[in-house]
Each structure stands twice: as structure tokens, then as C-alpha cells.
């Protein structure tokens, strides 16, 4: 018993990793149909897009790179999907990592083909901006003068039909950011107070707990909690995409975690009971 309790407390991490790998593979191959409750934060995000002013443009900001695409790519996808379903104009903008703009462009082009969206008429890519604070301050005041041209065709913004009637932040009907970093501070401090447009955030799951303060205060109208949030959004859109399936290995991995924590604590308890070292 003593040997067993010691073993349970010190399972070789290679066995842990192997078990996790098997579970994730099985979870991806075998879908377990389980109910997914849509949380109030994802619903808030969805409602904000549903109620966005159709006469105004939506800004979708991306601040992620390939490393976090497991979570941020599906989030970006569902947001753009919803915007296009509602026939809303939107502008992409990227901060933090130059990869963002390319990755978001790929997703937008893919969805645009499916929804008949034309670049320059219904959507535009404003490109990557290194200076976050300066750009956001400038957007509040004068969007065209701050950003000047798009990143795909390198033409002045005023030449695009999608930017007609868009001068500053008051002409924006929705702000959504998909992020792997803490850029929300800049948006909240510099932009959100100057507009009635709802601000919604889609962070990676590790960042989500620190954003509940802004949900509570009403500064953020909605949030997508990592890949789970994207799956909830798919549920709201009535889509059964890869993200909905990807929740299964996430669930199984957490179950594995519970089992391991239980085994470790049982081993510690048994060891203490026998007078062994914990």
C-alpha cells in the first residue's frame, strides 16, 4: 500500500503526457454529443452583434498570431460569420503582431466568398498598426486621417464604398477584438468612453478570468471565453463546426486532470495514514 501511495503521488510525467495525447486524439475522432450551455457572456456578445446599428461600420480588431490560433481563429471566424450573416459592414485592423492582419485576412476572404462579400464594398482591411495608443486616439477623432489607406490595395480609405460616411468613432456601430494579449486596456481607456458602440472581447481562455471585472461593470458587453466561447457562439449561430467538436477533447483533458488530482491526493492521504512521507 505504501508503495502504491508513493507511486500515485509521483506518476512519471511521460505516462501523463502519453495519456493526455491518447485522450485528445480519441476526443477528436470520437465526438461525444453533450449539451453545451451557452453562457451569459457569449450571449451578450451575440446580442451585441444582433443589435448593432446596420448603418454603421463594425471594427474587428485582431491581436493574435499562429501560436494561439487554436482559440483565436475559431473566435474570429464565428464573429465574421455573424457579421456577414447580418450583412454588416466591417473593417479589420490588427495590432501587436503583424501576423494578425494576414491571418484575419485569410479568414475574411474565405467567408467573404461564401457570403458574397466584396472587398472594398462590404469589408476592408485597415492593416497592422504598431502604435496602439496613437492609432486608437486617432480613430476616435478622425479615422481616415489616422489610418489613411487600406493594407490590401494601398488606396486612400475615402475611395472605398465601405468607408462611406465613416469619419470617426461615432460612425462605428460595434467594436470587437480577438486577442491573445491585454490590449483591452487601451480600448477601454481611449475609445469605449467616447462611443455608444458596444465593446466585445474574445480572449484566450487564460486571459478570460481577469476580464470579468469589465463584464461586471458593463464596459464589455460580451466575451467569448477561449475555444469554449467560440463553440457557444457556433451553437447560437446554429453551426456545428470543428470548434463544437474540439470541445470534446478539451472536456476529456479536464476529466483526466480531475482523475490525476484525485489520484495524487489519494496517494498523499494514504501515505499520511500509513505514517509515510507526503
Amino acid at each position: 500500500m505504501s508503495a502504491l501511495s508513493e507511486t500515485l503521488q509521483t506518476i512519471d510525467r511521460r505516462y501523463l503526457y502519453a495519456t493526455l495525447l491518447i485522450i485528445v486524439i480519441v476526443g477528436l475522432l470520437v465526438e461525444i454529443p453533450l449539451p453545451l450551455a451557452v453562457g451569459p457572456q457569449a450571449r451578450g456578445f451575440y446580442d451585441a452583434v444582433e443589435q448593432a446599428d446596420p448603418n454603421k461600420i463594425a471594427i474587428v480588431s485582431t491581436l493574435w498570431s499562429a501560436s494561439t490560433q487554436g482559440e483565436n481563429r475559431p473566435q474570429t471566424r464565428v464573429i465574421l460569420e455573424h457579421l456577414m450573416r447580418r450583412k454588416l459592414r466591417f473593417a479589420l485592423i490588427a495590432f501587436g503582431d503583424p501576423q494578425s492582419t494576414i491571418l484575419a485576412q485569410e479568414i475574411a476572404e474565405d467567408l467573404a466568398r461564401a457570403h458574397g462579400y466584396e472587398y472594398g464594398k462590404q469589408w476592408i482591411n485597415l492593416g497592422y498598426r504598431a502604435d496602439i495608443a496613437g492609432t486608437l486616439k486617432g480613430i476616435v477623432r478622425d479615422l481616415n486621417e489616422t489610418l489613411k489607406q487600406d493594407s490590401i490595395r494601398n488606396r486612400p480609405l475615402a475611395q472605398f464604398e465601405v468607408m462611406r460616411g465613416v469619419h470617426n468613432i461615432r460612425d462605428v456601430g460595434l467594436i470587437a477584438e480577438v486577442s491573445a494579449s491585454g490590449n483591452y486596456v487601451s480600448w477601454l481607456g481611449l475609445v469605449v468612453g467616447s462611443t455608444d458602440a458596444p465593446f466585445c472581447y474574445a480572449p484566450t481562455s487564460v486571459m478570460a478570468p481577469e476580464l470579468y471585472t469589465y463584464i461586471d461593470s458593463g464596459q464589455m458587453k460580451g466575451m467569448l471565453f477561449g475555444i469554449k466561447g467560440a463553440a457557444e457562439y457556433e451553437r447560437l449561430l446554429g453551426i456545428r463546426g470543428f470548434t463544437s467538436r474540439a470541445i470534446t477533447p478539451v472536456s476529456l483533458a479536464l476529466v483526466l486532470l480531475f482523475v490525476l488530482i484525485g489520484l495524487g491526493n489519494y496517494g498523499m492521504y494514504a501515505s499520511r495514514k500509513k505514517g509515510g512521507t507526503a
Binding site: 506518476i11 510525467r13 501523463l16 503526457y17 493526455l20 495525447l21 485528445v24 461525444i32 453533450l34 449539451p35 453545451l36 450551455a37 453562457g39 498570431s65 499562429a66 501560436s67 494561439t68 490560433q69 487554436g70 501576423q99 494576414i102 491571418l103 498598426r129 504598431a130 502604435d131 495608443a133 496613437g134 492609432t135 486616439k137 486617432g138 476616435v140 477623432r141 486621417e145 489616422t146 467616447s194 478570468p209 481577469e210 470579468y212 471585472t213 463584464i215 461586471d216 471565453f225 469554449k228 470541445i247 478539451v250 472536456s251 476529456l252 483533458a253 479536464l254 476529466v255 483526466l256 486532470l257 480531475f258 490525476l260 488530482i261 495524487g264 491526493n265 498523499m268 492521504y269 507526503a278
Partner: protein
């Protein structure tokens, strides 16, 4: 007189050959400034840096605090915010060159001296060149898209994915019931995790989501409550501290009060 009009008349936009001349003169000016700064004694250099830092910070502070003109969202400095922002973009571009230079210097030295691991340095330098050439010259080709999407993106995502394994081993090792606080922490963590996944939600899905006392016992509701009512105030408190810390740091930097470790000693040396 309007500051914007004054600056526009004093520094009109250059076009054609005049623009190239302006760029060359600016680059030459920067070079001269570099040597002048090197030649300056330490104290004078410190004073100059402090003055420039103060003026740069003063711009943003003044632009923020100066009252806006009635009916507008602007004051006499607001027009310059995009221009000053562009300066920051240019500075960011310079640091990219510095990083590449350092990398090439270190790994070239390693290859030339045949130090341990030199083949890896060869791979690194070749990769830098190939990726740079592909991005600059062949951006629209399948070659670059493959390198970017299939190689770089995949490697990045794979490294991030290793975190899942590390979290498993870290949590297995760390979550032990050694004290009352640890038990409470573990219990809360387990409830929050269960409330976030379908398997956990399934355990209490038969309880109505809202409208009855029993809905308080739904795992997703408990999880949400913990995040909003317990976690949020704690995060907010930490946020207050960090926010005030950030303000203090910004003040110290702006007023060049930041001393210690390096810059003060260096200035005192020369």
C-alpha cells in the same frame, strides 16, 4: 496664431526631389546627433535625454489635460497625435534591425569558431535569409505561403500546444490538499473547470437554468458566480495596484526620476 497652421507653413510637405533631399538631410542629421551624443560628457548627455524625455511626455500629458474647444473633441495639440504616433512606428521599425543584427553577429561567430551547436546556427541563419527573401520577393507565391502557413504557423501552434502537457503535470503536482486554504482553492478551481466544459455541465443539466432556487446548484451557474463575485473583485484589487504602479512608473520615467541599476551609474562614470 494656430499652431497647426504655423507648423504647416514652417515645414511644408516635400514632394519629388525635395522629399529625397529631406530624407537624406534627416538621416545625416541623425548621424551627426549620434556622434555629438557620444562626445558629450555623461552629465550633459543625461540632462539632454531628460529634457527630450520630458518634452515627449509633456506632449501627451498636455494634449490630455488641455481643455477641448467648445463643440469639438480637439484642442490645439490634437492635430499632432497621428504624426507623433508615426514617430513611434518608425522607432519600432529600427529595433527590428537591431535584433537581426545581434542574431547574425552571435551565430556567425559561433559558426566561424566552430563552437558546440554550430550546425544549428547554420540552420538558423539560412532560415532567416530564406524567410526574408521569400517575404520580400515572393510574397504572393505559394512558396512563401507554404513557409508562413505550413512551417512558421505550425511550429508556433505546436509550441503553444505543449502547454497542455505542462499544465497537466503542473496541476497534478501542485493541487494537493495540504491545508484548508489549499482545499478551498482546489475546490473552487474544480467547480470553475467543471462549469466550463460540457461534461461538467451535463452533470447538472437537468436543473433549470434560472427561475428557481435549485438553479443555484447548477455547476455552470456556480462557476459563473465564482468568476463574477469572488474572482472579479480580487482581480480588480490587483488591477488597482498594478494601475497605480503603472502611473508611478510613468511619472518616474517622464520626469527622469528613474535611477539605479544602469543609467545613473553609466552617466556618473563618464
Amino acid at each position: 496664431m494656430n499652431l497647426q497652421r504655423f507648423l504647416a507653413s514652417a515645414f511644408p510637405a516635400a514632394h519629388g526631389h525635395w522629399r529625397w533631399l529631406a530624407i537624406v538631410l534627416a538621416a545625416a542629421g541623425c548621424g551627426i546627433m549620434f556622434f555629438v551624443l557620444q562626445a558629450l560628457p555623461g552629465r550633459a548627455r543625461k540632462a539632454l535625454i531628460a529634457a527630450v524625455t520630458f518634452l515627449a511626455g509633456l506632449f501627451y500629458a498636455l494634449e490630455f489635460f488641455w481643455p477641448v474647444r467648445r463643440g469639438t473633441d480637439e484642442n490645439f495639440l490634437t492635430f499632432a497625435v497621428p504624426t507623433v504616433g508615426n514617430v513611434i512606428n518608425v522607432l519600432a521599425a529600427f529595433t527590428l534591425g537591431l535584433g537581426v543584427f545581434s542574431l547574425v553577429r552571435i551565430h556567425s561567430s559561433k559558426i566561424v569558431k566552430l563552437r558546440e551547436g554550430w550546425p544549428n546556427s547554420v540552420v538558423l541563419l539560412v532560415s532567416i535569409v530564406v524567410m526574408a527573401v521569400a517575404g520580400l520577393r515572393f510574397e504572393e507565391t505559394r512558396f512563401f505561403r507554404s513557409l508562413f502557413r505550413d512551417v512558421l504557423n505550425s511550429f508556433d501552434a505546436a509550441m503553444f500546444a505543449t502547454l497542455a502537457f505542462f499544465i497537466i503535470s503542473a496541476a497534478y503536482r501542485a493541487f494537493r490538499v495540504k491545508s484548508a486554504e489549499a482545499t478551498l482553492l482546489m475546490g473552487a478551481a474544480l467547480v470553475v473547470m467543471l462549469g466550463q466544459i460540457p461534461i461538467g455541465q451535463y452533470l447538472t443539466h437537468w436543473i433549470p437554468e434560472k427561475g428557481s432556487f435549485a438553479s443555484l446548484l447548477r455547476l455552470d451557474n456556480i462557476s459563473n458566480w465564482l468568476l463574477l463575485t469572488v474572482n472579479a473583485p480580487a482581480t480588480r484589487a490587483i488591477g488597482f495596484g498594478l494601475g497605480i504602479g503603472g502611473l508611478a512608473i510613468a511619472l518616474r520615467l517622464w520626469l527622469s526620476l528613474e535611477r539605479g541599476a544602469f543609467f545613473e551609474a553609466k552617466a556618473d562614470e563618464s
